[in-house]
Subunit: 336 residues, 2 copies
């Protein structure tokens, strides 16, 4: 099933069920007014939403045209956004860029930060940037939404709590990160509002591309209209989404509607090397910080600058037949 | 005005207006079903809640008995919980205990972490502890709840966004903090669910004790029935709650219902020293980590152990006449 939150001017949007091909939708208000309401009562509500989804697919109910541009992030605000770092290639590159080491523990103990969840950008909403020196970067990721997860859940049991999947652009302000991390309490100002894909889907929509609690498909990141990243989310994932949920729930329950992210999708090259840009036949990168590190390794200095007003990013994922699964995040940076 | 969320079995509780003396309450459901709803529409809703509060005070409406034990945290879950460290004496002591330095920047750039907000403990709810080695500690703090705050707000303008005030027990797992902070992304597992006071109050309830966006009253922290902390929240606050809001909003909007905390209340001694325990005539401490550091300085090793199953903490604040303002947080640690 595919779900979206239509922008009706309210804070949490209006829940709609979207057709598999993303062209039609049907208001789900009689079942659940918002996606958070559905997640608060998932066991009871999900079967009814699934039934409506079947009706939408069979054209058995009146539908409206679905326009991705009219969607908010599936959860326009959430009670939790916790972002992991499942792709160690990204961690290795970004740390190298900061002159920091990757501790050995990172290979068995997931890195995770508590993100701000009180307001997400819509998938087509501009990224407001107060100062170009903040070093605005995109991070292409996948994320899941959970139902209620009990404290101390095992990774095995955590898998059953993955109810929906989405794409993320986790906006990062690279210029603010070193100073903020040096203070010791993690990100705050350096992680402004993120944006999620127009549509959230149940794992079964991915068919055999969903295996081991990871999505085995390339994340298509375009920057200023050019292919920038084609890293496969099923490759080089040190941790699955289930591992990340278990990590998050070690000392506390997670509320239904918690969003758990994978961290920036990043593939190694064929020789275990940091890979090549798309323009050179590689899988490319899902954020600018990585290509800057590659440039620095290659030529001694980073060449690609961070995002400035007018720069655009597009994040999408397609199935084996080339159809968009989640719709596309398309954002432009604007100075404010 | 005083507001609480009555535990009616729902996730967000039922909003009630509470009498100034905390003995009576009146359901506010016809005005706003939940406190988050009220905060989402504060400019429109607050005057109607204030009118109901006046009726409650004048006994002009039927009221029920208010029992603090029936209250959830005022926001049982929130879209944001961001906790600062306004009291540098605490930071100095805790860092000393960890063998870490306090950077000079901490005296003008607030330290703040993004806390988990997807589920808070009720003010009388047990603190679940999975392992005594996690080093369970309380942290007595004050916090405010904001309405919508625009990105880039000044500290001066931020003051007008402080709509409600509460007390907090910010539960911390000291045994997990060093390892987690060493990973560089801040707290996650080391900050499980916190609890807030039974009642949230508008700043005018504090009369002249609310000045400079700080509460000028002692925070009464009792540990296992004995006075443990009497630190005055109006003393030694390097940053006001307005300063902390401005810090949080530097790169993003804050959604109505954002909770911003002060960090552990901590007073220096009369000579600028770290102060003395209550039993020795000092203002004491609002967390165990501080007294352990004092013991370490005095005798070479910490004597007070962290909280174990059965240990109790009580956090309250009283006005000049001795009346409880927010009701009391009273929690017992239980092994799970």
């Amino acid at each position: 099933m595919k779900l979206a939150s239509f922008n009706d001017g309210s804070r949490d949007g209006k829940l709609v069920v979207v057709s598999k091909d993303l062209t039609r939708c049907c208001a789900a208000g009689l079942i659940a007014p918002t996606l958070q309401f559905a997640l608060d009562n998932w066991a009871r509500i999900a079967p009814r939403l699934e039934a409506l989804y079947r009706d939408v697919e069979h054209q058995a109910v009146p539908c409206d045209r679905f326009h991705e541009r009219e969607a908010l992030s599936p959860l326009p605000r959430a009670y939790q956004w916790a972002d992991g770092s499942a792709y160690i290639n990204h961690v290795e590159l970004v740390r190298k860029a900061r002159g920091a080491e990757v501790p050995e523990s990172f290979y068995h103990d997931p890195l995770m930060y508590q993100g701000g969840s009180d307001g997400f950008l819509a998938p087509r909403q501009d990224i407001p940037l107060g100062d170009p020196a903040w070093g605005c970067d995109m991070e292409g990721e996948i994320a899941c939404i959970t139902d209620d997860v009990p404290m101390g859940v095992s990774a095995e049991d955590a898998a059953g709590h993955i109810k929906l999947l989405m794409l993320v652009n986790d906006v990062s302000l690279r210029g603010l990160i070193p100073g903020e991390l040096a203070k010791g309490f993690g990100f705050f100002q350096s992680k402004p509002a993120s944006a999620f894909s127009p549509v959230a889907v149940t794992p079964d929509e991915l068919a055999e591309a969903w295996a081991g609690n990871v999505i085995h498909l390339p994340l298509m990141v375009d920057y200023n209209g050019q292919p920038f990243g084609r890293a496969n989310a099923g490759k080089d994932a040190t941790f699955s989404l289930a591992d990340l949920i278990a990590h998050a729930a070690k000392t506390r329950n997670l509320c239904g509607g918690s969003i758990i992210g994978s961290g920036t999708i990043s593939n190694q090259g064929p020789e275990g090397d940091p890979g090549k840009p798309v323009s050179e036949g590689g899988a490319g990168y899902s954020c600018i910080a990585e290509i800057r590190m590659i440039e620095q390794i290659g030529t001694g200095e980073p060449r690609t600058r961070f995002m400035q007003a007018g720069d655009t990013v597009r994040v999408e994922m397609r199935d084996a037949a080339g159809h968009s699964i989640f719709g596309a995040i398309e954002q432009t940076v604007v100075a404010v």
